[in-house]
Symmetry: C2
Subunit: 380 residues, 2 copies
């Protein structure tokens, strides 16, 4: 596996574009579209929040058959808490896009991010579709990545090449992280394309495994959005023998997908609101990886740990209290080892070793700073 | 039931004192003692953290028989992460105190709060005991309440009088809240005395019920300390018919105890680090009160909600996202009602109504402010 450049249009058969449709007052790009030349296998993971935005509901329905050809994304408006009209708008966004592309509406996935509780300016989106579809290009990955951002400071892309059954396969991804537009909440979106040939079942499994060790291992502020989603389109144009069962080919693909997801997840943390530090939390010696991840996220989400890191103070007491806060039996002062890397650098690492078992996990977070408070308190 | 003044020495048969023993460099009071003239029934609730400080371990052992006569508390040092020496020091603190009072060591409970990871200056404590015990007085409740503080800005006391079986009964309490001394974590301590006659079993039950609706319903920063404890001593000197079963007398006592606990809990939130707002979160229409409390604490601990409140912004989207974050089935946009009181005042109230059932709960929190970040980042 090799890291290359190119983003979501690097795999064969994908074209994309991103443009300003009039949603953002800043006149920055706010509408993105990626399309596969041929029908693609698709898999997605969505927010676990009970309260979900309209586009998530539409995606769950359109993605049910495991096939899709296009993803349309707007930024600047989350289409969340918008009631029946919001749902109708999300459906119309998919339908109008499908008509413009000459494909079925159920082959179009929809995502939104931005301000919540305000009607989606659907007319601006439909009016922009002719220009958006006309401009689709194999060089449009970067424009797509720009069009999905809210207050992110930088675009986030990752592309890798690997070999499956003797054929070169490419996976390209982009993401947006925790941006805040009053009165909005952080939303995490990830879009991944690949020319690998893989069955829906195995793609779903690969995304599940990759997501567990990447997007599910990061936390900026512990708050779960109503719009989070990560979606993969796999169009098979690489011509590799179809990955249809566990084995060497599946493992290679899954590992490459995990690399893309983890890199994008880390970039989201790095660009976290007000973040001045990138914190890696290793938890070792647990019964299961899930347990290690849960403990790691307790540490990552502890305001006391986050402020200590901001203050460059290696406060192991706060880490120990966070480790113990889940009330897991078998954790005690004398069976707990905590070590730190230098706190003076931008990259900080905390290793917690328990004596419960042999599993481990790594989670990533940022510090809690005055800038986070400022961003989330002040409204313009 | 009537609210009166007086604190923990207001009930019959309790004497207390608080003094500076040399632990705090500020020369503020750092050692407190309360003693009952006669053996008392006792009940306690402790932190659920897996990692606990030495005094908690000692209290669990000494409190096991449901009887105690004295509580000795030091502030300025938490005696936590202090290993075997820390445990030996906590035992010696109880033993020396018992000797000075002429009672059994197992009748003495011990609490500590302050800096962690540093050896308890046990010699300063034992050296101060003659002066401390000599100065015990029925007017010493306030000095006791002062001696348990760390960076709390004010003492926290609550006293109520009620009638049980025709006899006047008094319950007095004091508490300390979220104070921070580098590199320490917040600790919540509550000490309650009463002259009620009540069996250990019923006292335990009353404290459990009172605690659930008070100390368990507050959160300043969602971080659980290693030293938290709430303890009641009931010495029976009021001469009321012993409360030994559920019924009218038990209910009256439990309600009065709940009033004391809730008032102290609210005072802890009001004095929370950097707090500028007092936030009451009502959650209605849940299956159980526990579920309502869990949802309320998700809202209370959401950094996005807390910063919105600091910014005086009634951001219902952030509240809705926090309500949904537990992933409870049956919560959705159209079955969720959120209302706010005016956000411009110091007292803010948020009411969330669900359609899951008929239970409800109320939780209390403060906002997340620049001052919180400053207190927890800077070390002096």
């Amino acid at each position: 596996m090799k890291v290359i450049s190119g983003g979501i249009t690097k795999p064969q058969g994908f074209r994309a574009h991103g443009m300003w449709s009039g949603i953002k007052r800043s006149q920055k790009k706010d509408l993105s579209l990626v399309v596969s030349e041929v029908p693609a296998t698709t898999a997605s993971v969505y927010t676990q929040n009970s309260v979900v935005a309209a586009p998530i509901t539409v995606c769950r329905r359109h993605g049910r058959n495991g096939r899709a050809r296009a993803i349309i994304v707007n930024s600047g408006n989350a289409n969340c808490f918008t009631g029946k009209q919001g749902y109708a708008d999300a459906v119309r966004m998919a339908e109008t896009c499908a008509t413009a592309l000459g494909i079925k509406a159920t082959d179009v996935l929809v995502a939104s991010t931005g301000i919540i509780g305000k009607p989606l300016p659907i007319d601006k989106i439909t009016a922009a579709l002719p220009e958006l579809t006309a401009a689709l290009s194999p060089a449009g990955g970067k424009a797509f990545a720009q069009g999905i951002l809210t207050t992110d400071l930088v675009i986030k892309e990752r592309t890798v090449r690997l070999t499956v059954g003797g054929k070169p396969v490419i996976i390209g991804g982009c993401a947006k992280g925790s941006g805040m537009i009053a009165p909005n909440m952080a939303t995490m979106l990830g879009f991944i394309t690949t020319d690998a040939a893989i069955t829906g079942k195995m793609l779903k499994q690969a995304l599940k495994e990759a997501n567990e060790d990447s997007f599910n291992c990061i936390s900026v502020d512990g708050c779960m959005s109503t719009n989070d989603m990560v979606t993969v389109l796999a169009n098979g144009m690489a011509g590799n023998p179809v990955i249809d069962k566990p084995g060497k080919d599946y493992d290679a693909f899954r590992d490459a997908l995990k690399d893309v997801c983890l890199d994008l997840a880390k970039k989201i943390v790095l660009d976290g609101e007000g973040a001045t530090k990138f914190v890696t939390i290793h938890v070792k010696g647990t019964k299961t990886a899930k347990q290690a991840r849960e403990i790691g996220l307790m540490v990552a989400n502890s305001m006391l740990v986050k402020t200590a890191i901001y203050g460059s103070n290696p406060n192991w007491g706060r880490v120990a209290a966070a480790v113990g806060a889940l009330g897991i039996k078998g954790i005690a002062e004398d069976s707990l080892n905590i070590s730190f890397s230098s706190f003076k650098k931008k990259d900080v690492s905390i290793t917690t070793t328990l004596q419960l078992g042999r599993a481990e996990a790594t989670v990533y977070t940022s510090d809690l700073t005055h800038e986070y408070i400022r961003i989330n308190t002040e409204y313009n």
